[in-house]
Symmetry: C2
Subunit: 290 residues, 2 copies
């Protein structure tokens, strides 16, 4: 049987992106963390970590991490004291990878489940990375736009975030924008280099892609930049309804939108607590998503 | 004289955290990027990159990147066509490291300078990382809470973001919180593992540190989690004034606050365009910051 202290050291190094912070999190010294990792590697006979900055789990390390998450969930399902400090307080730690816009809009309201105490650890990740974190067993839950399940995992549909192309009246007049083609002379706001929302939408409805770009990797920063007239771009309905009503933002393509479908990914060995949370979120998401 | 194509390849690999995305950004193949990096290394006789994931600049690489930023600024100061596509359109690309709360609150409004066209590339970084990015020459501007200047750089004071400890009335009643000591039984919201704001404030005004924590690395997600009653924590005045007035949030320690002082870091070889931007931001920040 594994010494789970060793697996938890591995998990801490990956989750905290380094040995030093893993040591802080575990309240042990950095050399104790290194020792546990080496011991684990001697036991299984191969490396579990690539010592890069940040450290990356090897395929063997990833399998161990997935296994660890499943054991943690099984322990939680038992509902008994496991000697864990948090478990003694009946607080279930839930590490969850989420897309930035969900965390900035509907998710916190949908997560409130009064009967159970959770300690959430959100990782804000791009689509491409969050499922990888699930696959590597670094998170218990992943909210992303892929319905492709990972090995040992399941997914359930939550609904869609609906994005519209908007800009402030100040932006439109400052750049003399009177027709669609004028937009391409003016700056477009894009979340980051993985964000294709603006490019795909403009390609579909305006036959070209934006070139003059402000990169703004912050959900609320994006909205504030829009309100300040820095650029045009796509925002979820949940972030713009008020501003459209007050006239602070203008819908550039009325009736046109882009839906980003969202899925809740979880492990088959889900604990009853997480099952209750999932069912609660699936239901309450209906109030916020399409 | 350097072949600046090679330095720009190095810059693209660091800024885009990899060869593949650097290639996409430069519209060349990945092998062309590798070739340019190798050529640069042969020229200077030592490695410029550690080939980790993501790649990291060596000390020699960092010196080259700082130099590159300075040349770019000097070119911008010339105000002449340099053959660069963006420069031909008179758009000055400004890569800026900022703290998350500034980007989510006052900064976009303070950046609007109608006379000059900028293309902003924001990097949302923790205090500890953003000055390092400045030091490594990866950014032209850095907004952070350190006044310590980097080699070849200067800094100017912008003002302070004022944080108060708040929670929703729903949170207070759900956890039966009637006095300060009760807070420690209830979840505290913390931005990430580098965020000491909550711990320092509670240590000072309530003689203890929070232990039951939700980690929420998103400015707006943090505010939404607060409004949804997930936890208590510290928010900038700029993000809570409305909610305090409507009663959606309650000030837990009236009259007590924590000021985070902010500085604008820039290079001594600043271009006139960036100087105009800096002066504009320093002035307009006064409307938002303490």
């Amino acid at each position: 049987m594994f010494d789970y202290q060793l697996l938890r050291a591995l998990e801490a190094v990956i989750a905290n992106r380094g040995f030093e912070r893993a040591a802080q999190k575990l309240f042990i010294t950095q050399s104790a963390v290194s020792r546990r990792i080496r011991q684990l590697e001697q036991q299984i006979g191969e490396p579990v970590l690539v010592r890069s900055q940040p450290p990356v789990a090897t395929p063997a390390g990833s399998r161990l991490l997935t296994h660890l998450q499943q054991v943690i969930q099984l322990e939680a399902a038992l509902g008994m004291q496991s000697g864990d400090e948090d478990a003694e307080k009946n607080i279930l730690a839930v590490r969850m990878a989420v897309n930035a816009d969900s965390l900035a809009t509907w998710l916190p309201r949908a997560l409130t489940l009064p009967e159970q105490k959770f300690s959430f650890d959100f990782l804000v990740e791009d689509q491409s990375v969050s499922l990888k974190r699930m696959k590597q067993g670094e998170v218990m839950v992943c909210i992303c736009s892929s319905d492709e399940t990972v090995n040992g995992g399941k997914s359930v549909y939550l609904g869609a975030l609906r994005y519209r192309a908007v800009a402030s009246p100040g932006f439109l007049s400052a750049h003399g924008i009177t027709e669609t083609a004028d937009l391409f002379r003016a700056p477009c706001l894009v979340f980051d280099h993985n964000d294709r929302t603006q490019h795909d939408f403009m390609r579909e409805y305006a036959d070209d892609e934006p070139e003059y770009i402000h990169w703004c990797p912050s959900s609320e920063g994006f909205r504030q930049a829009m309100l300040a007239g820095m650029g045009y771009g796509m925002l979820p309905d949940l972030q713009i309804e008020d501003a459209i009503n007050t006239g602070e933002l203008v819908d550039l393509f009325p009736g046109k939108y882009m839906d980003i479908h969202l899925y809740w990914h979880y492990w088959q060995s889900e604990s009853p607590q997480l099952k209750a949370l999932r069912e609660h979120v699936v239901t309450s998401a209906q109030s916020y998503l399409q």
